[in-house]
């Protein structure tokens, strides 16, 4: 485990941030039965810290640990899978895996394979229509616009629906991208077509990328070894790039973009098309 030297002021600052996160968890558990909540755990640094804080809080308060949920987009790093399996056992986490089996099957489990819309089930076909695509076929890519929707959003919504989930915990942060800068700690999502109503709690919004690494290293929180190899942000395997060859926490976090190696333009590109009247 790499070591980090922090001043006592800095450690106090991080402890205050952790305490703030615990408050958010507490608010959620006062409103919802733990059984109706899920912690979204991708195996990345942010959701792992979220889970670590949640475990601590639950232990302290004598609350049962919520179940966790992870989405397999069909294009995952082996290192992430391994990390999830290891800490599911070590931390005794009850982890559900979600995947869009219907799309994977239609793609013959191969990236870049052509998926024929006619081969998909009714739900997936309806979802493609819902996001404004009139396609007969699309290439299977986890983080293309259609791929992202089918492999993540649909899996998420279906899971909430089938399990009667009322609230989820997400490891989002204000500083991870501009679009998140105004996200609230709690968002009540109203039911819409194909989306059940649910609450979204974001307990670590106030952690910066630097805070994440200082906390992770200072408190010996485990993390996926890819970060040590230079990845700063982990998404689908084929669309995440190393931003450098040095460990993430040693990179210039303040002056370079965390998600530079990740596709983040898909939503924005679609939003532009919508605004131009094309969607």
């Amino acid at each position: 485990m790499p070591k980090i030297e922090l001043s006592s002021d800095r450690i106090t600052e991080l402890e205050t941030k952790i305490a703030k996160s615990k408050e958010i968890f507490q608010q959620a558990f006062e409103r919802f039965d733990v059984k109706d909540t899920r912690l979204i755990w991708s195996g990345g640094k942010d959701s792992t810290l979220t889970l670590w804080i949640c475990r601590q809080h639950c232990e302290e308060q004598g609350i049962e640990l919520p179940k966790a949920f992870t989405i397999d987009e069909g294009d995952a790093f082996e290192e992430i899978d391994e990390f999830l399996h290891t800490y599911t056992k070590q931390w005794k986490v009850d982890l559900d895996w979600g995947r869009n089996e219907d799309v994977l099957k239609a793609a013959h489990y191969a990236l870049d394979a052509e998926v024929r819309v006619a081969d998909l089930n009714e739900r997936n076909q309806a979802e493609i229509k819902r996001i404004g695509f009139d396609l007969q076929a699309f290439p299977f890519e986890a983080e293309s616009y259609v791929g992202n929707h089918l492999m993540k959003t649909v899996v998420f919504n279906t899971y909430l629906e089938n399990n009667g989930i009322k609230a989820v915990f997400q490891g989002l942060r204000w500083d991870e991208q501009k679009a998140r800068a105004k996200d609230p700690y709690l968002e009540d999502v109203e039911a819409a077509q194909l989306t059940p109503s649910h609450a979204r709690y974001r307990p670590i919004l106030h952690f910066s990328e630097r805070d994440i690494w200082d906390t992770t290293l200072c408190f010996n929180i485990p993390f996926c070894p890819l970060y040590e190899k230079g990845y700063r942000s982990l998404g689908a395997k084929t669309t995440s790039l190393k931003s450098s060859d040095i460990p993430a926490w040693k990179q210039d976090l303040e002056n370079t973009q965390e998600r530079a190696g990740r596709r983040q333009d898909k939503e924005k590109t679609m939003e532009r098309l919508r605004k131009l009247g094309y969607m």
Partner: protein, 403 residues
Amino acid sequence: MKHVVLLTIDTLRRDTLTQFGCRLPLTPFLDSLIPDSTVFAGAHSVAPYTQASFPGILTSSYIFDTPRAPKLSEKRVLVSEALKRIAGEADITTAAFHSNPYLSDFFGWNRGWDMFYDSMEEDVEDMSPYISGAAIDEKVDNWLQTIDKGRPIFLWVHYMDVHEPYVPDRQYIDRVDGSITLSREQMFALFKDVLLPRDASNPETVQLLRKLYQAHVCEVDDYSRRLFDILDKHGILSDAAVIITTDHGDEFGEHGSLSHDGKMYSELVHVPQLIVNPPEAKGVVCEQLVSGVDIAPTILQMFGLESDPAFQGSPLYPLSEYHEAGVYGEAIGKRAHKIKDTDMPAYYYREGKWKIMYRQEEDSWELYNLDADPREQVNRIETAAEAETIKRKLKPRIDREHL
């Protein structure tokens, strides 16, 4: 010329330039470039909307060369890729600055560029859903400060400002018609209530929309001037050929509709084009029919390179050797902003005074004599002796295997 700049102005109608018959001085700057340019009076876009016409400009290919897909096919060769491959990785610096989502990294256009700015990370307003030409110019300026100008540069700059919604600034409205008193909200309402539903029924409203459109044309003329100043400031302009054109025009009720859908009439596919500081033929008006697919081969030629085997067009210079064989275009014949899977292809072919079009959906043919009928109002498919001959020239393109 050492450098080549391609300036494309989205949705720029041919008749916005004085050179092509505009009676209002909408583009004083672009007009001032005419004496230093080859003017291509017969320039045609290969399609009436971005996704189908830009493969022509930047990959010298037609939309149905590869299966219908939202993304640019890997099989197409972008001019930036051809430059890198033919000249070698380090020889020519390639850069793109634009704000058109259909040409973004997400849709596969970021290939072969040393610098690719598509602005998709920026937040934009509903009333102006793109980065303005002013901001694009600034990006170009900043970038030029950082690079080695000793090496040849291929720079592509694209302005979106003319594209709807038409919500121009007051100063530009005043240049067109100071009596227009619409608020920004009212202009935006015209976009939602009239333009998007393609309601061309009220001639006064159509005329108003046209004026708002023209105000945006005045605006990009300013940005073009600024771009030239920037190129000059960095010592590039005197040693650069600048190709100025558009991806397509725009309709204001000429054929019953608005905006730019899958129709092949002149207001959409007969486009403005000039090459400033050309290798020859400065101050010449070239009347030959030339096509969007000729642009990429011309760029390679200007760098002294052979054309790419994948390119379907021909270099424009020397003009005397350009073999005019008629111009051709194809697109999905959509009748609304959005392309539906069920929308079928539409085609055109122009040779001399004749222009023929075919729409698969209605299995309908149209033939126009552009000398006598430049507005394409009288369909001569049943009455022209040449109809069968021209039809035979378009048929092989239609019968080409479609994926």
